[in-house]
Amino acid sequence: MSAVSFSSWNGKIIDNRTGKAARVDAGVPTMLGDKSFTALMGWNGLVVSGAANIPSLALGYLREARKLSCGECSVCSIGIDRIAALLEGLIAGRGKKQDVAEIERVARGVMELSKCNFGRASAVTPVLDAVRYYKDDFLALATGKKGTTSPYKTAVTAPCIEACPARLDIPGYIELIRNNKFDESLDLIRKRCILPGVIGRACTHPCEEACIRNGIDQTLAIRLLKRAAADNDLASGGGALKKPTAERPEKVAIVGAGPAGLAAAYHLRRMGYQVTIFEAFPKGGGMAAVGIPDYRLPKNILEHETRLIRELGADIQYNRKITKLDMDELTAQGFKAVFLGVGAHEGTRMGCKGEDAGYEGFVDGAVFLRDLALGKPVEPKGKVVIVGGGNVAMDCARSCLRLGFKDVEILYRRTRKEMPARAEEIDEALEEGVKIRYLVAPVSVLADGNRVKGLECIRMKLGEPDSSGRRRPVPVKGSEFKVKADMVIPAIGQKPELGFAGDVLQVTGWGTIEVNPETLRTNLEGVFAGGDCVSGPATLIEALDAGNRVARSIDAYLQGRTFEPEMSFKGIDVKAQRALGHVDACPQEKVSLLEPKERVKSFAEVEAPYSDATAMKEANRCLRCYRLVVWE
């Protein structure tokens, strides 16, 4: 990296042009992913590290900002136009000295007066810095000397986009909802999330943690807005997906119709490839189908969204479990590439005595939820104990209540604070009557003959933080005690079943498939992998991202092109901005939840949707925090 000669990043001025070298803050971007630059203009300032044409870059910035300015408030879009016209005049040699001062005045106005956070924080900020700190470069143009323009590169993100594993254009689809364009909003969502109704219900929504509104009142209800776009479409009959413009002859095999496989299939079909999915279960959706109970995600939503992908021409073959990865056979069938998205469906062992004895009433959490989803009856007798603190444990516990179990208890070895389950999942479980015992771990499974009768447990205390940053649970010597149970469900994690790949596929120490993290290629020629079988059990949206990316990677592979990863903002704090101005606090629009007493009577969906009008009202809270950078 070359030394920074000037920076106004975060509003902090570092000026090394006079020869005196000042220290550069860790927060100042000096690279964009793996790309270096001579000058960069971003929402948060100007960074210069070499000889650069600043007026030209400022004009480039304004042109890109103009594309992001929605045009709803007059100040932002017209202000950008006005400044750009003055700058164009200066560069063309038609400008006057006063024009430089005028650019400054209008830019200040745009930052103070704009309606949304794009106008206030991003639209002109670095341009104002440029005319203030590189004034001579601009004044030189006012002497009648013509300037030049240089090419520039550009990228856009937002705090919510950056937090989303699949990088959905969140401000974009929210804006379309605000403007009553639910169908266009759904089109935009589908570019990166082909299961909008599913994700709109079951996403862990890291985007909401990143929302700038958290610092003012409360996050936008991003997940619920996505659901509103999907529900609006379904209410009007559920339109078909756009067909590919041209067909391609190459065949691609996908193993697993989970979120990763479905996303890959959708994008490959849109590009025109011939796609076959082999699915072991009788239905598509992977963990969304056999891992998330109906009260969180009604099955008709997933079925609808899977059917659309099938109708797009993806040949989904259900009940086709691949027991051996036979590349010769797949090649003979004409497949040019294979994507493995087999998920992680095998329960992790607890490491306690008796768990492999095959006792009746001892069922792994993932298996329990799968059996339930596939219609296997469960007799609700006595007490059920679930071990674990993740979403699967919550899903098992809440399902048990709905099945009619009167006594449902979760054992977790740490405290509520360390629980990996979503906070609202835990709250809803407690409301419904699930009991949770913290700082307890099982030691052995107790049985009466071949039938489970309980667990022997030990109390834990929290020790030093481990690699996950959570405090490690440590057993308290001599604190063993017994917990009675008629059914025990361990739900402490899953791993992929990779027996089908024999020993030809390279795997990691964690028992997941080893891939190139950018291209998702495995060690086998033409074989790609992604989703839970690569990451270990993760979220639906991460699996969708893998599917989105692998489609681009497979396309590049089949067309003999180099795969270009997306521009990375890694290392740049995209939440940081200088001034926010006055933003009126207004609380999030609420949706109603079924009464806990009603919830446990059936598997009916707990959460009510937004009406279109409420969704539009909620969408109106979005501050549009697009972050723009241009560089040369």
Binding site: K67, L68, S69, C70, G71, E72, C73, S74, V75, S77, I78, G79, D81, R82, R105, V106, G109, E112, L113, S114, K115, V156, D169, P171, G172, E175, N179, N180, K181, L188, K191, G581, H582, D584, C586, R624, Y626
Partner: protein
């Protein structure tokens, strides 16, 4: 009841009122182009800007969509407010140099409006028509078409959805610049380039509403069409 201070005067306000509403109730004049008392505020024109004390600092805020809070301090007539309103009007004038409503507004705020004809009627994207169509009429025939990441809308504009329009003309009444035109001749009304057949009043014979509007009212209210054949004056 909330206590607020506007320009140094202590005033009372109701919970849920905006700064603009309190100002209007107390005869504090604030310019607006995109505001209508019966519609959700939109904050598009930025002319109603005032200063609000936020965390000890005076910050600019649009008064139409900012709710008053207890003990809020507001200033509506400082130089900063005046200059900001002037800039907002100047920029509107820059984009719509011949629009009369814009020129008049700019002049009233002390902007030196350049010479030129003042007979134009542009769409200044104030959103009054889209809000009226959605909130009052409820047919959603007018929608904002704006830009953003990955959308190739060259210029923001109002999209007219002819199939949804019932020809009621509310958008024409509410348009501040005269951009939305409605013309009547004989039994036809033309609005947004769509021609509507008008219904004549059974009693006075005057053409009083487009057929499509009456059908819409009938569908929405359950009143049969046969009861909607008399105009409001004869009813």
């Amino acid at each position: 009841m909330l206590n607020v201070t506007i320009d140094g005067k202590k005033l009372e306000a109701k919970d849920g009122e905006t700064i603009l509403q309190v100002c209007q109730a107390n005869h504090v004049r604030i310019p607006t182009l995109c505001f209508h008392k019966d519609l959700t505020p939109f904050g598009a024109c930025r002319l109603c800007v005032v200063e609000v004390k936020t965390d000890g600092k005076w910050q600019l805020a649009s008064s139409c969509d900012t709710l008053v809070r207890n003990k809020m301090e507001v200033r509506t007539n400082t130089d900063r407010v005046k200059e900001s309103r002037k800039l907002a009007a100047e920029l509107l004038c820059y984009k719509y140099p011949s629009t009369k409503a814009v020129r008049d507004m700019a002049e009233s705020l002390g902007v030196e409006v350049p010479e030129g004809k003042a007979d134009g009627s542009d769409c200044i994207l104030c959103g009054l028509c889209t809000r009226t169509c959605h909130e009052i009429v409820g047919v959603d025939a007018l929608k904002f078409l704006d830009r953003g990441l990955g959308r190739s809308v060259s210029e923001p504009r109002i999209e007219y959805i002819a199939d949804a329009c019932i020809g009621c003309g509310s958008c024409a009444y509410v348009c501040p610049t005269g951009f939305v035109k409605m013309e009547a001749s004989g039994d036809r009304r033309v609005i947004w380039d769509k021609s509507f057949k008008m219904t004549a009043c059974d009693k006075c014979g005057r053409y009083f509403a487009p057929e499509e509007q009456l059908k819409w009212i009938s569908r929405k209210t359950g009143v049969p069409m046969s009861k909607l054949t008399v105009c409001t004056s004869c009813r």
